[in-house]
Symmetry: D2
Subunit: 232 residues, 4 copies
């Protein structure tokens, strides 16, 4: 899927290194994303592990994001992740600076530059309003606000700390009026999503709330449905 | 391919992040490895990028190694490389601590442990005789000796610094009589391989000498043929 | 010296790990800074190695900066640099994110927070206009613009790439009207300084241009004198 | 104090980043070390923070260790710790690879080399028997065995897991008959020390057990006294 077609409202599902979203289970989960997207008219993208990028992109129509890319150019970089390689494997975008994979400031900028050169969409994660404002100056396509203390907690940042979301949106908008703002950390229900979008964000970045759900398809539809109603 | 079947003499081709060995070109190069192996009776394994592991393992019979794995367990580890994931993608083994991806001592040990639990073969790279002796205590399946100043130089360590190879073999053997010893760095010809095996190693780890060769198949056959004659 | 007294125009001399600025030679160089400051009415601060902070701050009146601090709190952090420790040793401020000691974005923010809590002045280094704009959102006291390709080159950024300086100043000012902007990389003469200040910066961060000078005192006076004339 | 004079039995007190062992309190604690050493005839060395090395070495006779050194040579290395600098500040030795400051295998080797060139004693920390055996191949002066799960626990490794100590000693001795072996992690009493020495170690590396003690002098004398009786 072309980078320009990844427009909000958006649900982005981070598969992390969960076994429930590895290999064939990654494909299954991406198919649920595809189904929910077709049904509800909201983009539902997925971020599988690097080794699953091609499998997922070949077997589903869900937009695929890599969870990490190194800002290297092709060459002698054993054990690194090359942007050209994830593009070849079918990725439409990349996650950058997730709180579980933090990067030097200069590396964030260089990775955005490399992604842009290859027309890969970029989502930079930010754990505080200050970091979100900072990365807004680096020109990513999207910023995901993820206070690390809420990741995997089941408590949505939009409900637990609504002022973090509004403050972050406000600080980002003073610097960058174009960037798409996602709300992450603790999102598990459509109600969380509605609250997040009311606070000024344009989509959500979710992980365990979907991956660990007993009914993954229902969980995705709940979030995507909430995106649609608010987004329109 | 089962870990126990990866026995010396062995040629292991590291694809690094070369475009000449990405995506379909990775498959092509692995097919050459498969052909040379069938013709010459020597195992020729390949280490493609993570995003290409499944593609290569599905389309060829060459044993496939990951270039890097993180010693994590399944869970919340965005942007990391899970051993279960590369195994699911068809890997038979992993490279650890390449000079372009150096690791803390404890991480090397933990990665070996994780690989062993999943029956993945391990090749730990060592840039000096001291490091090679040190990692011999950690119980990997193989150690590859790669003085970083010779990597990609076109000058084989077995010729430029034969005493490094013999000293390293001697130091490793005092500690670990089982580990398979590979010679890396600068290997480009069958003559380099023969010299390396005469010095006591049991195979070679190569990269640009194969990947950048005008005739990749001929280059692999040259190395594998030299392995066979000395190995027998 | 109190953080609030470190006001522009400012010359900040980074001693790096040069032997010409280690131990007693660090004291000598700091005394030159003190002399030049007294003579020319411009603040000349010094950033010696951690082990020399106390020696330099006890034997001279030059404001002293640490070259790096970890954003830890007192406790079990063997081998780290505690803000309380450099404060106790006499530091008035700290360098953060020098191109030779790059930090994760979140670490930069946390270090600024820790420094502010202890009333230590902060200088965050930025290698590009984008990084400079980004760190402007994090609220440091000062930003030093240092394109890494010019560090130690003897070619001043203010002359080689004046548009980098003006672009950076412009981008920073849109976000942060208070932060003091220093020009780094390649500054070796008063003329370099004058040009840097004409382009909108308020001081310079220098290293080899002073430390490696045959006549260190004359070199400092040259830079400080240029600061004074432009600053007034 | 000359490196060759730091002979076992030995008590080495790691001050970490504790405020109870920063600045003047570091000096006070080092004076207790000096007193206990003079009274009991056992070497009691101290490892203060980098900024306190000179203060402690000037005001006491206790042998002083740096908590970390980077394996750099003098030059452009802002924010790093130069071996020449800690030597100039009075250090007799250095800690390497503490579990709170883990290093790449190659960095451990390079740091040992740099220390040896400057006649600084080296203590490499190892968190497992495997790592201890590995670093034994790198030729440090001393190895400290510190299972990280026991650090700061108040439970001595020599009592909680005596088989770790004996296994480690055995594995180290097969490779290196010269290296001095210290027992770390959880040591708080003379009884812990006696047990550690009975298991084949030649001294202890301690931190919170001393630094956080209500009576620091008594705590040191307890440990040093136990060393003496067993050591003789």
């Amino acid at each position: 899927m072309n980078r320009s077609r990844i427009s909000p409202p958006l649900v982005l599902v981070n598969f992390k290194c969960y076994l429930e979203a590895t290999g064939n289970k990654a494909v299954q989960l991406a198919k649920y994303a595809e189904q929910a997207s077709a049904k509800l008219g909201v983009i539902v993208a997925v971020a599988p592990q690097t080794a699953d990028l091609r499998l997922v992109s070949q077997q589903t129509k869900a937009p695929v994001f890599a969870q990490h890319v190194d800002p290297i150019k092709p060459g002698s970089h054993t054990g690194h992740v090359l942007a050209e390689s994830v593009l070849d494997a079918g990725a439409s975008g990349i996650l950058i600076n997730h709180s579980e994979r933090r990067l030097e400031a200069g590396i964030i900028e260089d990775t955005i530059t490399r992604a842009r050169d290859l027309n890969l969409a970029t989502v930079v994660c930010a754990s505080t309003a200050g970091i979100a404002a900072a990365v807004a100056s680096l020109g990513p396509d999207m910023i995901a606000v993820e206070p690390p203390e809420l990741i995997g907690s089941g408590v949505a940042v939009s409900k637990a700390k609504p002022e973090i979301v509004t403050d972050t949106v406000s600080r980002i908008r003073k610097i960058n009026s174009e960037v798409v703002i996602l709300c992450g950390a603790g999102i598990t229900s459509g109600e969380d999503v509605r609250e997040a979008l009311r606070l000024g964000t344009q989509g959500v970045l979710v992980a365990s709330g979907i991956v660990k759900a007993k009914n993954q398809l229902a969980a995705i539809e709940d979030l995507a449905g909430a995106c649609r109603r608010v987004g329109k």
